[in-house]
Symmetry: C2
């Protein structure tokens, strides 16, 4: 398959020739010959094709975007230019937070191919670790670091408004991926759509209740507008627990093809919301050997720590750069310590409410929308699965509608704990 623009879809055979033609990739493997190099398509990409390339002297991952969504097929076209924005975001976020973003070795725009660090075993997708009940003691520390750095340094707290508008304009180009989010997160779950599915018949009434909840839908309208209109920072755009790879001491954020200048709360909410989904799925994974009670407590502690550490790190970056080129809040105006602190508190409080709103919207769409999460899907007993999902759904609806009343993350935990199986 070759198209006029220099693009051709790779397969396990042609990928060898492709690598040979790319010096940055052959160099990673220690030279020109590819003897003893193993190439394997991982096969579980939702959107893209991903090849793991392992040689005696080095390794990398090669990722190619095709002009459709892999898990749906050619019937759902999707620009392969997403690879350009993914590479751009990986490089920018990687520059700002190299400890938690894999290095990019190679990018080929016409082929929509990214060559990047192979996250070697025992790295696994965080979502799978959460399903397995594995604790990651550094997760909150690492994710708060990643979010604080990538969001702060791409916001107007650090950018001049001129830099900001130039960067915003560039990422406006990623509009097709934004449209996908608009549809599957903010629209379809709230209307009848043949893309929607849920654990039927158990949740039939729950899905209908979502579509009939006027107060909920009015709040979702505001969140959708904010998603479409507000260029607050360069966000990852899809920061769920399937976009994070972990070991006990490493946390790596991958797959930022949905990146654009949007509201910070969308990233923070995606991460926290997916942790809350993981929490509510635990009852479905409990068995005689492990009731998962301690693990559920670890998840709740991780939610609290992530937000608390995020706040601390974000404020600390802000203080450190308060005399910098950031133009949103000038120290010459907010020139008294108590005023500066009130300003920061207001900013973080608004961000907290945004995160709760977006996080809850991301939870809802995973239960009654097109794309579900393995946390629940892997619960074989449909009745048990539905019960876990209903708890998560009820929690999300409450967080979304009442979000402005929350002052602390502790209050969020109380709401989560009030919902009992």
């Amino acid at each position: 398959m070759e198209s006029g623009d220099g693009f051709r879809a790779l397969d396990e055979k042609s990928v060898v020739e492709y690598i040979k033609s790319a010096p940055a990739l052959t160099a990673r493997l220690g030279g020109g010959q590819l003897d003893g190099v193993e190439i394997r398509e991982v096969g579980d990409g939702n959107l893209n094709f991903v090849y793991i390339v392992l040689g005696p002297a080095g390794s990398f991952v090669l990722k190619q975007a095709l002009p459709y969504i892999r898990c749906v097929g050619e019937s759902w076209p999707m620009t392969k230019e997403r690879a350009y924005f993914e590479a751009l975001a990986l490089k920018e976020h990687g520059r700002l937070c190299p400890d938690h973003v894999p290095e990019v070795y190679h990018f080929d725009r016409s082929m929509s191919v990214i060559g990047m660090r192979y996250l070697e075993p025992p790295h696994i997708i965080l979502r799978k670790g959460l399903i397995a009940g594995i604790e990651y003691p550094l997760l909150a520390e690492h994710m708060s670091e990643y979010m604080a750095k990538t969001l702060f340094f791409t916001s107007l707290l650090y950018h001049s408004t001129a830099e900001h508008r130039r960067a915003v304009a560039e990422f406006c180009g990623n509009l097709e991926l934004c449209r996908l989010t608009e549809q599957v997160v903010f629209s379809d779950p709230y209307r009848v759509s043949h893309f929607n599915r849920w654990t039927s018949p158990y949740l039939d009434r729950d899905a209908e209740a979502v579509r009939e909840d006027d107060a909920l839908k009015i709040e979702v309208a505001g969140l959708k507008s904010m998603f479409c209109e507000r260029a607050q920072a360069l966000i990852h755009g899809d920061l769920h627990t399937g976009s994070i790879m972990v070991t006990s001491d490493s946390t790596q954020v991958i797959d930022p093809e949905f990146a654009f200048y949007g509201p910070m709360g969308f990233d923070i909410g995606a991460f926290l919301g997916n942790l809350i989904l993981a929490y509510f799925s635990q009852d479905g994974h409990a068995n005689e050997g492990n009731d998962r009670k301690a693990y559920k407590q670890w998840i709740l502690r991780t939610i609290v720590e992530t937000w608390d550490l995020f706040q601390k790190k974000f404020i600390s970056l802000w203080d450190e750069h308060k005399d910098g080129k950031g133009e949103a809040y000038l120290i010459s105006i907010y020139n008294k310590p108590e005023l500066w602190i009130s300003l920061q508190q207001k900013y973080l409080k608004d961000l907290f409410h945004d995160a709760l709103g977006f996080g809850a919207a991301k939870m809802i769409r995973r239960i009654v929308g097109i794309a579900h999460v393995e946390d629940f899907e892997s619960i074989a007993d449909a009745s048990k699965r539905a019960s876990c999902e209903r708890n998560a759904l009820n929690c999300a609806k409450r967080l979304l509608k009442e979000r402005r009343q929350f002052e602390t993350v502790g209050q969020v935990i109380s709401v989560i704990q009030e919902i009992q199986p």
Copy 2:
């Protein structure tokens, strides 16, 4: 003066040769020869040079942006690319609302020259009419029409999100003009700056009080962020009463060089805020023959009518296009009449609060910032002027801080009337 990029500054002589070289302009004058054509530089442009070109068979205005701000001089450089965004906005807003935007005949990007309709006498700048105490019975009707059409049709209520992001990206290029607003509206009035001035010594304490009003400054921070981050619609960006030309039956909006995708409330607030300034200036223009009391009532009625008509027209456009390509609020989700109405009411209420906030900020900056308004400047007695300005300032501070408590424009009028000379 000729620079490498094909740009040269025109003067009353070279403008003749320029016109001869532009067929769209000579055609307006009825042909190739310019016999009997009168050319006059109007001389009162704040930013640009403006030539009125009158011939026996036709007329037009030629506007050239120089790479600095005319009223300050070459010491304040300002991109001449602003003419490109002005022409773009004139054409787009003119397409959407031809009755209230002058036609563009010619645009030359390398020369930063726009040729457009000459707004013939008795058109005058609205601000001058307000100072003279002239009533414009159609002003509210026309301005509500202009704002409803230009804002609705460039928002996500009408645009698909793809069109919207493309248009947003284009106007991100107008960043220098946005930066000027950020500085003179949202920053300088709230800090010590050598650009600031006020009617001294009368208002020394008032200017200081603005700089020390922590609650006010926290609110201004939120407005500035919204101005910088929120791409809600293609706004004029400088919609004060000096950007509007009027006769008793014509209202024409000019000078959109500050246009970009920003918050709608910034335009609505600019217009209403400048009417409130005009109101508070009237006591300084009262004399034995005319106490201006009736005129003040007309201004208040115009404020009420503008907002009420704007709401009606905006909602009516929204209803008319509810099945269109606009993607913010889908009728398939908001599918019950009462839900649709609640959604619209919430949208308009938020917009009203934004307009009050931005309008108040625009009032404050005209009293303690760099650029003042002729409404007050033309009051010769400094003590009397200061008293009018103080009333306006106190009104603005209250509107800005308490804006979320206002439900109706009538409540705003009550606050204005509570402030007595």
